[in-house]
Amino acid sequence: MTLKSRPAIALLSLSLAAIALTGCSEEAAGGSDAAGDSGSCAPEDVQLVGQVRNESNPYEASWLDGGDAFAASVGLEQNRLTYDGDSTKQQEQVRQLLAGDTSCLVMNVLPNGDSDTTPIVKGADQAGAYLVTQWNKPADLDPTDYERWISHITYNGVESGQQIGDALVEAIGGSGGIIALQGVLDTAAAKDRFAGLEATLAENPDVTLLDQQAANFSRAEALEVTKTLLTKHGDDVLGIWAANDDMALGALEALQQAGRAGEVAVVGIDAVPDALTAIEGGEMTATVSSDGPWQGGIGLAIGYCVATGDLAVDDVSDEDRAFFAEQFLITDDNVGEYLTPETDAADFECDNVFNRVAGPLS
């Protein structure tokens, strides 16, 4: 008898708990609706959230540090979230955030992939949280269709691919053979950056692309692939174009192991600290910086300005709601300025938050 009733009691108490929880969350949701008027938050009530994949790569760690720097400048703290590159985990974190008090919530989010952006945007818009997304969004999803999705910031991969391509061509003296290390082939970043290299090659007919291989943005894979390509093409390889710095650093290790360090020019993208050190030491030729700390700060700054009423969403022009941000080519001429990544508080003032718009998304 007792044994039989135990599951029933458990079930009953569970459903009671569920009912109680539903009641609570309904209350909270009601509260946020009442205070949901745009731009009326007191600065101290604003909650800042920065969400990236993980803190185990220097770029995303510096992104969150930039968010902290902005938060400190307005006397707040940033909630640092990471989701280990797991789309499900990201959605779960966002749902939990949006289930709380969302009236003054500002989120600066790096969606895991294009398709992950849609539910985040819809959820935030419904809950009334201020949202800035970066890097990934489906082409047909437009911030101007939403009230609370203020802006989407990304970078022109074709441009950066060409910038380092041109730097590489210059470094090898305008003619000779190069090899290319591509990223994960089915990502927009890999496709765009490689298109940039192809544009460089079209302008420089004396430079031949000896081989191109996918090394999936990974240092270890780039090391193996480069070693293989160096045995395949030998001394014909004068330059190595890599779609990110991790692969460029893997290529540098391969050159060192093959005893050819310093003879081959290497370029990458992202401006990770090790790449900057390599450029300073003359082992690497160039990289491109999207300025991670700025990205971490700017998303929060835009949201903060709108939430506190310093900036009205209606006043933000359509071009500023989805834009390519400025990126910077780093060579040994200017590497000194980038060695210690820092944010400039002036960039985050409400009048300046759209200063780095390089062009609208095409």
């Binding site: 280990d84 081989d211 240092r219 293989t228």
Partner: protein, 336 residues
């Protein structure tokens, strides 16, 4: 009285037949390796250069060590998905313990040993969880992998540790008789693995556990300590793998072991180690490792487009496994 004697006579006379069968059965993967090697050598003049063969063996080093560890677990009929996390922990640990740009440690060889021990203790944790809590190895090792990645991320703390320890850096660069130290280390590991498998109680029991654990337990063998020991041994191999990756890349990366878990299992299975346990071994796995590395290298050397490589590689692996298990197939065989 007579029937037991007859039985034992049968048992005594039985061995020669299976043994002959075994040698035939196990010829599949080496034959596939030689066939693939020959095809690539015929197609590409660059592939058959001495430089490229050195390159292939260098590239196989880390995978060979990791696969060596995983083989013992697979022989036991368990599975181990913890390689990525354990390698990450040992990669970060060793990068922080030898001379580096993050702290003043300069422990050299002791640092390497400590990192391997740390990895071994993570392996032991997998084993203990499996034995004490009776959680399937699939789940415990997946959990331990996450723990390992977590530990590594904590140690990473936003700044990548670059190693400047001359000894560890030389592993990937210095050569002895044409091969890097890493390749020799891997060869040493395979030898040690084979000796353990062949001549120690641990190795023999690993086979026996995979073949018929209940029988072993019923005949009075305490199986649990051996299971823990096998996972510990595997952890130590992964740890050494993580140290080797750190030596190659010159830095401790959280991603050091990324992909090695499934690659090592693939290598073991391609080489003829069965996922159900009780069959295969370190040498089989080494053949599987070489098969995969030759394939990766060869596809680049003959100039297959990167857009096609993934698919082509998968197809050849499946074909190689299918060809390798042809002699093993028999009527009524159950495949899960």
């Amino acid at each position: 009285m007579t029937s037991p004697a007859e039985d034992s006579r049968e048992v005594v006379t039985a061995p020669p037949r299976p043994r002959r069968g075994v040698s035939l059965r196990e010829a599949g993967p080496p034959v596939a390796l030689i066939a693939i090697f020959t095809v690539f050598a015929a197609l590409s003049s660059q592939f058959r250069t001495v430089g490229n063969i050195q390159n292939i063996l260098d590239a196989a080093a880390v995978l060979a060590v990791v696969a060596c560890g995983i083989t013992f677990v697979l022989m036991m009929g368990s599975i181990d998905l913890s390689a990525a996390g354990v390698m990450a922990t040992s990669a970060l640990a060793v990068a922080l313990l030898v001379e580096n740009n993050r702290n003043d440690n300069d422990l050299g060889l002791i640092g390497i040993v400590l990192a391997v021990l740390l990895a071994a203790s993570l392996g032991a944790l997998s084993g203990v969880l499996l034995v004490l809590l009776k959680v399937p190895s699939f789940m415990t090792t997946l959990g331990v992998s996450a723990i390992g990645l977590g530990l590594a991320t904590l140690m990473f703390a936003g700044v990548q540790p670059n190693i400047s320890d001359a000894g560890l850096e030389s592993w990937a660069v210095e050569r002895l008789l044409g091969f890097t130290y890493l390749t020799w280390i891997a060869a040493g590991c395979v030898l040690v693995g084979w000796l353990i498998q062949r001549y120690t109680r641990l190795g023999r029991y690993a086979y026996a556990i995979g073949g018929a654990e209940e029988v072993l337990a019923l005949s009075g063998v305490k199986v649990a300590p051996y299971k823990v020991a096998v996972f510990t041994l595997a952890g130590a191999f992964y740890g050494l793998g993580g140290v080797m990756v750190t030596s190659q890349l010159g830095a401790g990366l959280v991603q050091a072991g990324k992909g090695y878990d499934f690659l090592a299992i693939t290598a073991a299975v391609v080489g003829g180690t069965l996922l159900t346990g009780g069959r295969g071994g370190v040498l089989h796995t080494t053949v599987g490792v070489l098969l995969i590395v030759v394939l990766t290298n060869g596809l680049v050397q003959v100039g297959v487009s990167p857009y096609w490589q993934g698919g082509v590689q998968g197809l050849i692996v499946v074909a190689a496994v299918a060809a390798a298990v042809v002699p093993l197939r028999h009527r009524n065989q159950v495949v899960k």
